[in-house]
């Protein structure tokens, strides 16, 4: 099972779990329709689309409403602690949750107690809390952008909001920031760094870069990082080793973006529609 975990930007959205269905520009679950604008709905849509294209079972999602107050996230953490270990997921992608170190640790320890940790991917708020917890190395993949890489490189910063200026000034020096993140034990075993050039890194250093197709308009579009996480989660679930999955996903996300012919005003749903075609093209090239 590929499990996807995150929040929906609606205050009264209940905690739901199951397989989401794609309907045009929205996903639906338990009779709830959720627009795919950005955030976890974009992750769910992209992963579902990629799993379908790869001939894999649809992902299983755990979702709850939270508009930033943290109430929904805490409800979800509690539910995950009780139920996630028994789901026997092979890959888990954690996404937009309110960072809460105590609850993060409880969920992680519950998974560890079950034995044989699944492949763990953390993006967005869950990547922040995974770093803050001191257990970053337990994770298999983080997907930071350049600003978030500086946060991972800063051993003192508990959130990107507090990344120190002298480290932010190093944003053009990705190899240095990668080294700092791994040396400080603040990185997952693989990093997929999103930017004008995507970097795939392990503690050995940069193992791959992806910079084509170059579509400048993708950076400001909300949700393109979420689609990337969705595609890499699906590829990992399909059995690709993490660094290879991250490299393919970076190429697929760029190509899907290009196929959507975007401007900085394009919405991510237009890009998600192009994922199957992009996936097919890139996998044909790889194989």
């Amino acid at each position: 099972m590929l499990a996807l975990i995150g929040t929906i930007p609606k205050k009264d959205f209940p905690l739901v779990s199951g397989t989401a269905a794609l309907n045009g520009n929205s996903v639906s679950m338990d009779s709830h329709s959720i627009p795919i604008n950005r955030g976890t709905p974009a992750l769910v849509a992209a992963a579902s689309m990629a799993c379908d294209a790869l001939g894999l079972p649809a992902p299983f999602s755990f979702l709850v409403g939270d508009i930033g107050l943290g109430d929904g996230s805490r409800k979800l953490y509690e539910h995950l602690k009780a139920h996630l270990p028994s789901m026997d997921a092979r890959v888990i992608a954690f996404h937009y949750l309110q960072p809460d170190v105590d609850w993060h640790n409880q969920v992680l320890w519950a998974l560890e107690e079950k034995g044989n940790l699944p492949v763990l991917i953390a993006d967005a708020g869950y990547m922040y809390v995974a770093k803050m917890s001191g257990f970053a190395g337990t994770y298999d993949l983080f997907t930071p952008d350049i600003g978030e890489l500086a946060f991972l490189a800063d051993e003192l910063a508990p959130h990107p909001f507090y990344t120190r200026g002298f480290i932010l000034h190093e944003e053009d020096n990705v190899p240095k920031l990668v080294k700092m993140a791994f040396e400080g034990k603040n990185a997952a075993s693989t990093l997929l760094i999103k930017g004008p050039k995507d970097y795939i890194c392990t503690k050995e250093g940069i193992v791959a870069t992806v910079d084509v197709p170059c579509v400048e308009a993708l950076e400001p579009i909300g949700g393109t990082g979420d689609t990337l996480s969705g595609v890499v989660a699906a590829l990992t679930y399909g059995g690709h080793p993490m660094a290879k999955a991250a490299t393919i996903a970076a190429k697929v996300n760029r190509l899907a973006g290009k196929l959507a012919n975007p401007t900085p005003a394009t919405q991510v749903a237009e890009i998600i529609k192009e994922i199957p075609k992009a996936l097919e093209t890139i996998l044909d090239d790889v194989e």
Partner: protein
């Protein structure tokens, strides 16, 4: 400011004040229904919020990034066309609330957001307003 390591729980913000003023300040906060989680003395310097901005001009569109948050507007219409980055749950909510609105009429992110990501977007918003002389 950022809390010292022993007080960190997740998405945290602290307000620094002179210890001698503690009683007065706690009273004022309480009168305004803002109860701090803790009030503690600290010895070491606290982490400051980011104060660096990155700006990218796409011709018709302008993007400002503060920390992990990016705000993009259409320079011709002054509409907010995209919000990206961030990781706290109010980021998608801020996107749904602000995208498509004229930045002059849209509520400032600090009125809609609840987290440090929302605060970072507020800084990007203020920098955008400054750069566009609005």
């Amino acid at each position: 400011m950022g809390p010292p390591p022993e007080l960190r729980t997740g998405c945290d913000l602290v307000i620094e004040f002179p210890l001698v003023e503690q009683l007065n300040i706690l009273r004022v906060l309480e009168e305004n229904s803002i109860t701090p989680m803790e009030a503690v003395p600290v010895d070491n310097p606290l982490l400051k919020p980011v104060d660096l901005f990155q700006t990218r001009d796409y011709g018709r569109y302008l993007m400002v990034r503060a920390a992990n948050m990016k705000l993009t507007i259409d320079k011709e219409t002054l509409k907010i066309v995209n919000i990206s980055g961030g990781g706290c749950p109010d980021v998608p909510y801020l996107g749904a609330s602000l995208v498509g609105k004229d930045i002059r009429q849209a509520p400032p992110p600090k009125e809609v957001g609840h987290t440090l990501c929302g605060y970072a977007l507020q800084l990007a918003y203020e920098e955008m307003m400054r750069q566009c002389s609005l």
